[in-house]
Subunit: 436 residues, 2 copies
């Protein structure tokens, strides 16, 4: 009986796995050098944890399951609620700020689309426990810096990608000035987040359902589409009072910090960025390809209330999530994958004349225990066929065992790149004193 | 609202994650040096894939879920069926033998017990596509060698662990000689697998339910408990015909191969090893702690029919699975974890006198882009407090930025191990020409 894989999932054959490992290893390396420590949680959590704060859109896309005890569980669609739960559990013993990263496998029960699968990997970095306003802007900037640090590391430039930064607080302030009540904000954010994903007409219609006054709808559209940097300068003039810190202007402070960190050329203020998740409260951002052909490469922002809403103290956090699917599409398009993902290779391939298998197994076992990768042929084939197999394995060196060699207690070591052969003393080689 | 984690799952705080990464990195390293390539499949598959061949025990422990399209899915309790599905999909293009490994996250909806959680990681290695009898025994031996290669690498010796090897074919031959019909074998294997996990009385009673004849029950018990190595020698004499290969004697050939590979001292024939999974057809094995205090550390065996039963050609496979839970318990008990799992560390901690934050961010960003791990304090604290924070981070070097230094366009680099300080030119340092 032939069973297919489930739609929206991926099989990782060795060549696919090499790409996945290269992406994930890069995420881990950049996280560590930016001072983040790795954590992870379970693949499933109580369903209600996601219902509390992630917002309707994500809850509609949950894979839910019921265990034998009748508990309602869900496969995690994101890891931030798990992070908040874990931090809350040890809130008193964890030194702050908490700078953690994770590469969770996540799940969404939606119709698979280009760059959006039902199962994917996501790099997450978060900074939790920075409470003063200026510190928060530094934490936001550090999250964005680490994001750019990775994207730059894999070869993307400010020609390829743009970090678009905005602020929920600033947007709320503007919507408030138009007379929109606070309790309507969450629903409006969900719609505004779709601005660049839907045809203009559909989007305006959806926004009209939330805001019946057409004049206000157009004011909002103007706010989100004007030339943004001058708008920000104007807002700074308008909202800042000398010597007084205002959260509404965080986006300006974050941009200044990013400039100092040397990645200002990647970043821009863009009021059309809103993010779909319900828990964001401050600065939010997305990274897009400058061609505008793909979905967001990643997104993130500040969440001041999430830990409190999940039963913890009112501690602030800020973070970023980057999935592997859109990233891989962009890297592929820019030709950055094939030249960077390493090919499989082998330190030694051991070939032997028929009847000398025992010696071959002995040498292979020894090489592996010494830390070298080593392989051999399961087929009883001619030496030339075995050497061909060695090439398929991309072996650096080939060891040849035959009667003439063993008579003198020697083996032949062949360098596969240069073709040079060398007779080496068998015992000396096995003792590890022959340098590889 | 406070939400707990789900019972039987684990939260991996950074110190737990360090252990998990160390175990998994070791598995990967040993797999690669033994010539295995990495693959992975999805976390969920169609439920019926597991129902076909894994055996009742595992199917009872499945986490099942239904997607929006009404498809019945299950979280994978093992990866071998996925491996068989993936190999079948590309059977004609994959060069054989296929030597693949994976470290899947697996799920079991059973009551959590010591060393058995509802969510865990499992190292899997498999060799598929070796068809002749002697080659199969070599493949079985290679799987066991790689297993021992890892266990030895992490510091376990033949004093600590024992590889117990047996054969389903040999057992079937013996049970057949007692008049037990073939169609009853699968159910009997499930019971026999419990021999070392249940009290003797309960076990005998369960076996009695399958085999009403008490004399036969006791013969089987004798077969499974006698001094095993002489029994094997006797069987070899009894079953082998000169010049003729017999699958019943594979266990002897596998042991001989393991001897040649230099791990014979770890291995023993033990007819009480049966394995619970339904798909095993030949040599089976488990690794146990010699103290006999823990569950099996790992197990595996040969499956001749699995690919065919999942819609592919009749191609043979052999493999091994090792979970992380029992392994971690054993390593902990033997004191092998704390001395091998590396502590967190940082290349540079950047400390600055108040007011020089900007310079600090600039240097940190630069260091990270150069590939060094670097961190700093979010708090505006005294230099001595910042140096204390550097120690908490286990920083190798500390950079100190203050007015006196910057007046001369220099920074202080302090070696945290020796306490030695050095004044370094600021621009030279940023250009990367100062060696770290």
């Amino acid at each position: 009986m032939k069973i297919p894989p489930v739609k929206g999932t991926r099989d990782f054959y060795p060549q696919d796995m090499a790409v996945r490992n290269w992406i994930i290893d890069g995420w881990k390396k950049v996280s560590l050098r930016n001072g983040f420590e790795e954590y992870d949680g379970p693949i499933f959590e109580y369903l209600k944890m996601f219902q509390i704060k992630s917002g309707d859109e994500i809850v509609e896309q949950l894979f839910s399951l019921t265990d034998r005890g009748g508990r309602e569980l869900a496969l995690r669609p994101e890891i931030t609620p798990t992070l908040a739960r874990m931090v809350n559990q040890r809130i008193n013993s964890l030194p702050k700020p908490i700078k953690w990263f994770s590469v969770p496998r996540l799940f969404r029960a939606e119709r698979p689309q280009k760059g959006r699968l039902r199962e994917f990997f996501q790099w997450n970095i978060d900074i939790i426990g920075v409470e003063n306003g200026l510190g928060k802007c530094l934490a936001d900037a550090e999250v964005i810096f680490a994001t750019v640090d990775y994207l730059r590391q894999v070869g993307l430039t400010s020609e390829d990608i743009r970090v678009k930064i905005s602020s929920r607080e600033l947007l709320a302030d503007y919507l408030g000035s138009l007379g929109i009540p606070e309790e309507k904000l969450e629903a409006i954010y969900v719609v505004l987040d779709k601005k660049n994903k839907l045809p203009a007409e559909t989007f305006e219609q959806m926004l009209g359902e939330q805001i019946p006054d057409n004049k206000i709808v157009h004011k909002i559209l103007d706010f989100m589409t004007v030339d943004s940097m001058p708008q920000l300068e104007e807002l700074v003039k308008l909202k800042s009072k000398p010597g007084e810190y205002s959260g509404k202007l965080d986006v300006k402070l974050v941009l200044d910090n990013l400039d100092m960190m040397g990645v200002g050329d990647f970043c821009v203020y863009d009021p059309s960025i809103v993010r779909g998740l319900a828990y964001y409260t401050g600065v939010v951002f997305e990274v897009h390809d400058t061609d505008g052909e793909l979905r967001a490469i990643c997104g993130g922002g500040r969440y001041d209330d999430l830990l409190r809403d999940l039963g913890g103290p009112p501690i602030s956090g800020t973070g970023m999530g980057m999935g592997d699917c859109v990233l891989e599409m962009l890297l592929e398009k820019k030709g950055l994958l094939s030249k960077q993902v390493s090919k499989k290779e082998l330190d030694y391939f051991v070939a032997c004349v028929a009847g000398f298998g025992k010696e071959a197994y002995r040498i292979i076992a020894k090489l592996r225990s010494m830390g070298y990768s080593a392989n051999f042929s399961y087929k009883t084939a001619s030496l030339s066929k075995q050497l061909k197999e060695a090439s398929v394995h991309n072996a650096k060196k080939c060891i040849i065992i035959g009667p003439e060699e063993l008579e003198e207690n020697k083996i032949t070591v062949k360098d596969m790149a240069t073709g040079q052969q060398e007779l080496v003393d068998y015992d000396e080689f096995l003792s590890g004193s022959h340098s590889a």
